[in-house]
């Protein structure tokens, strides 16, 4: 039974991911007094992309043909390591922050190579900016997840989430809050949302992620789009399990409902941030990431000063 829960939650997360992104988009449109797009637009896009002809660039090498798969597969692998949604579910408890960050980086590495493969200047712009942002977000990510796993007394992400759910460390509320702020900034950054990157733009001044994949079409574009929606669901799910640690002990239907509610709350928060903020200039992005790093440090130091668990 526990294994059924495990497989179900992975398939459920994959299926949910386009819906969440469409939800953010349509909610943003509603906030801007536009006529909202359908919630199922994401699924329609995928159906369309996977039936279209693929156009490859003349300059493209083998990298373009294999990179989309290597962008998607590490992210799919991370789905197997995420904290469980149901209490009795099977989970892989030992995977730590460094491995998860490494898998994310593997996906980004091939995405950046993909940007450089077409030989056009836009891909180069995108890769260069992504290299800049992701290299600075990696230390923040490692430090934040490390702190939260120290608070939970286990370095494995999934085990940490369960520990937090069972015994919430109330003495370390301050550290916990700092880590939450830091992780929310990282969520915006890694999934390419507005203060850092604009997912809807096609202007060379503002785009990062879109610039790298400008040259792709058809199924390859579909795979990359799928990767970015799965990346969002990975971060949302990690935020929901690690930083809102409740609702795991309920019966399966209730805990699933609580989990979905948490995911949509995060989506709402992202939508509000996106409509209320302008995109930062590229060279202001490190300041935001610097805030994330400082909060991660503060969280760790306050945890150590207050005694820790050791």
């Amino acid at each position: 039974m526990s294994f059924v829960y495990y497989i179900f939650s992975i398939i459920f997360l994959v299926l949910l991911s386009p819906l969440v992104l469409s939800f953010i988009k349509s909610f943003k449109m509603r906030l801007l007094y536009k006529k909202p797009a359908s919630l199922f637009q994401g699924y329609r896009n995928f159906a369309k992309l996977f039936s279209k002809e693929i156009i490859l660039s003349k300059e493209a090498s083998t990298i373009t043909k294999i990179a989309p798969f290597l962008v998607l597969s590490p992210l799919v692998l991370i789905l197997f390591f995420l904290p469980p949604i149901f209490s009795g579910s099977f989970y892989i408890g030992f995977v730590d922050a460094f491995t998860i960050t490494g898998l994310l980086a593997l996906s980004t590495f091939f995405l950046m190579l993909l940007g450089l493969d077409g030989g056009n200047s836009f891909g180069g712009i995108g890769s260069s900016r992504e290299a800049f942002i992701s290299s600075l977000s990696e230390p923040a990510m490692i430090l934040t997840v490390f702190t939260i796993s120290l608070m939970a007394n286990n370095l494995g992400i999934a085990k940490a989430a369960i520990n937090l759910n069972n015994h919430f460390p109330f003495t370390h509320m301050a550290s916990f809050t700092f880590a939450t702020i830091s992780f929310f900034i990282l969520l915006l950054c890694e999934t390419g949302r507005i203060p850092i990157d604009n997912p809807e733009t096609h202007l060379e001044l503002t785009m990062v992620h879109e610039a790298m994949i400008l040259d792709l079409s058809g199924a390859y574009l579909g795979i990359i789009e799928m990767a970015s929606s799965i990346k969002f669901i990975i971060f949302a799910s990690m935020f929901a399990s690690l930083f809102m640690p409740f609702g795991l002990g309920l019966n399966p239907f209730l805990s699933l409902a609580v989990f979905i509610a948490k995911i949509f709350m995060i989506a709402l928060a992202v939508a509000f941030v996106e409509t209320n903020m302008a995109k930062l200039r590229l060279f202001k992005v490190p300041n935001l990431l610097g805030i994330a790093i400082v909060f991660a440090f503060l969280s760790l130091i306050s945890f150590y000063v207050l005694g820790g668990n050791a």
């Binding site: 490859l56 597969s73 593997l106 800049f132």
Partner: protein, 627 residues
């Protein structure tokens, strides 16, 4: 005379793994070298001297092979001595390596009481009685780390490695730097053993600093071999982070954690040997075909040089510490040993170790950026010059060298338990505890961290899972049977050409701008505008030059200070005889005082008094009144 304990054997194994693929490569490479006999004599002399260093159990022999290693590698840099830059680099290397040698000689003379013909065990007894062990420690790190290329002695690497023939740079960076790490292991374990906590902290700080400095200067390079040389600085830094953690844990009495950290450092030593040799070989093969080291002249080489491109990609993934490569595994282990700092009770130390975590993580992030640049600009896109356009795959011997080295890289990932078992033997010699069974708690598939509630990673399962997912995705994609058409690149209507393509300088632009406080770049911008319109121009040239901070401040600074002092002395030379005798008097005074301080008794009050006396006598007798 010779020693074959586990430490020596492990490093002998490392030299063998690094050398055998290199032999093939070197024979392929030597076809274009004019002075073949000269090259081969020094090449084999270099290999033999490295083997000699790791097996000698005699201080004199160690020093002899060490010096032979420096001299042969110096001559190898001069294999093709036509260019001025080669001669300068060789001169600089010669100077730096002998600066280290002086400190090493001092250390050896002290620990052997002047008689170099003794083994390490007897040296240990003499070192134990020496009054200032920290002095020995500093002599040792100056001596060995100047060879290993640790900040602030790293400045010779980006000059010496690019000028050497590529097979030699692969050996120098892959194996010779590791021999210096061997020296560190040998001396700390066998001669200076119970060390205080502070030494470990010094090593840790040096490691964190080197890793950051190395990767930041690598990013700003566009000479491909200098880029790789800077990455050697970074990786030696990462090794030292592990090494320093091992020393800290040992000083605190946490034997298991210390063994784990030392194993991680040794593992990274092996991994760096494998992927850095491979990178230098592939870069050398590119250089051999395109006849330029400038990355801005490459591009699109993946189509004409597939074997080189694939091996370079493998090594790039490994050096960027991306899972499930071997580079990732050893960095993971170093990371885990940093996280084990949770069990340290010393709060100040505990709070400062996350800064090393930060340095390691930032280094990882920047290394990824750097290798996307190195790979993407070199092998992807369209060719940026005629040289790159007409490049062909290198000859069979060079290819087989690269392929053999990629087997070493892959086997370091697949057969991790075997290697860790070897390293465990080494640390067992120091602590007497074996932690192999705590690392591989349940079978050989997964590596466990040694601390409580630590992480677990399983390279084989990660690799298999990734492969399975990729194949499933690929199968699904193939079963869709989508039509494919080949057309021009889409660049929003702009023309795609070599001139609009992104350059290496442009790629590193944002990072260079963010770290401009460190780089202090000198920009050179020139354009020919048309009819006075500022935005329309016929040709434009943008160059950026970065002078490394350490070179500027420490080395050039020392040079200018020496110049100033010698000018002052020169001015003194025109005084009358009484001043000369006054100078001699002061010199004698300072020698006497100095001897008393260092040889007899040490007290701050006396030192202050003597310094004041010296200053007064210099002021009165030499400088005199202002005229």
């Amino acid at each position: 005379m010779f020693i074959f304990d586990s430490l020596s054997l492990v490093f002998l194994f490392l030299i063998a793994l690094g050398t055998v693929p290199n032999l093939f490569y070197s024979f392929g490479y030597a076809k274009d070298i004019k002075r073949k006999i000269y090259y081969h004599i020094h090449y084999f002399g270099f290999i033999i001297s490295m083997i000699g260093v790791v097996v000698s159990n005699n201080l004199f022999l160690f020093l002899f092979f060490w010096e032979l290693m420096s001299l042969t590698s110096w001559q190898l840099i001069l294999t093709d001595p036509e260019k001025k830059s080669t001669k300068d680099a060789a001169k600089f290397y010669f100077f730096m390596t002998h600066l280290g040698f002086i400190f090493l000689l001092l250390l050896f003379l002290i620990v052997s009481n002047g008689n170099l013909d003794i083994d390490f065990n007897s040296a240990k007894d003499i070192a134990k009685d020496f009054a200032y062990p920290t002095l020995l420690f500093f002599f040792m790190i100056f001596g060995f780390l100047s060879k290993a290329g640790v900040v602030p002695f790293h400045v010779w690497l980006p000059y010496a490695h690019p000028e050497a023939p590529s097979a030699v740079s692969a050996l120098m960076s892959g194996v010779m730097l590791k021999v210096a790490i061997y020296g560190l292991f040998r001396f700390l374990f066998d001669v200076l053993y119970p060390w205080p906590l502070e030494w470990g902290i010094v090593i840790l700080i040096l490691g964190a600093l080197s890793s950051l400095v190395g990767v930041l200067y690598a990013l700003s390079e566009h000479d491909i071999k200098a880029l790789l040389a800077n990455h050697s600085i970074e990786n030696i830094g990462i090794i030292l982070i592990g090494f320093g953690m091992g020393m800290i844990f040992d000083a605190l009495g946490l034997k298991d954690l210390s063994a784990f950290a030392f194993i991680a450092a040794l593992f990274h030593t092996f991994n760096h040997m494998s992927f850095k040799s491979l990178l230098f070989m592939s870069a050398g093969s590119v250089l051999h075909q395109t006849h330029t080291k400038n990355m801005e002249k490459y591009g699109g080489l993946i189509k004409s040089m597939p074997v080189t491109a694939i091996t370079f990609l493998l090594a790039s993934i490994s050096i960027s510490a991306l899972p499930p490569s071997n580079g990732f595994l050893s960095e993971w282990m170093i990371f885990q040993s940093l996280l084990s700092s949770n069990s340290i009770t010393h709060v100040a130390l505990k709070i400062s170790i996350p800064f090393a975590v930060f340095a390691l993580a930032l280094t990882g992030g920047l290394a990824i950026a750097c290798f996307v640049k190195a790979y993407g600009i070199t092998f992807l896109g369209t060719s940026r010059s005629q040289n790159a356009k007409h490049a062909r795959e290198s000859n069979f011997l060079m290819q087989s060298g690269m392929v053999l080295m990629s087997f070493v890289v892959v086997s370091l990932m697949l057969f991790t338990p075997f290697f860790i078992k070897l390293f465990d033997k080494v640390t067992q010699g120091l602590h007497g505890v074996s932690i192999y069974h705590s690392i591989f708690k349940d079978g050989f598939l997964s590596i466990h961290s040694i601390s409580d509630n630590g992480g677990v990673v399983s390279p084989v399962i990660l690799l298999l899972a990734l492969l399975v997912i990729v194949f499933i995705l690929f199968f699904v994609y193939k079963s869709l049977k989508l039509p494919v058409r080949v057309k021009n690149s889409w660049a929003c209507g702009y023309k795609v050409s070599t001139r609009t393509q992104y350059s290496a300088t442009g790629f590193a632009g944002p990072i260079r701008r963010f770290f401009s406080w460190l780089y202090k770049p000198k920009e050179h911008f020139e354009k020919q505008i048309i009819y006075g319109h500022d935005t329309k121009f016929e040709t434009a040239l943008y160059e950026v030059h970065i002078e490394p901070l350490f070179e500027k401040s420490l080395y050039k600074g020392a040079k200018s200070i020496t110049n100033k002092i010698s000018y002052l002395v020169y001015r003194l030379a025109h005084f009358e005889q009484s001043r000369y005798s006054a100078i001699i008097f002061n010199l004698m005074l300072s020698v006497l005082f100095g001897y008393r301080i260092f040889a007899h008794q040490f007290s701050w009050a006396n030192i202050t008094l003597e310094v004041i006396i010296l200053i007064i006598s210099i002021k009165i007798l030499i400088i005199g009144d202002k005229k």
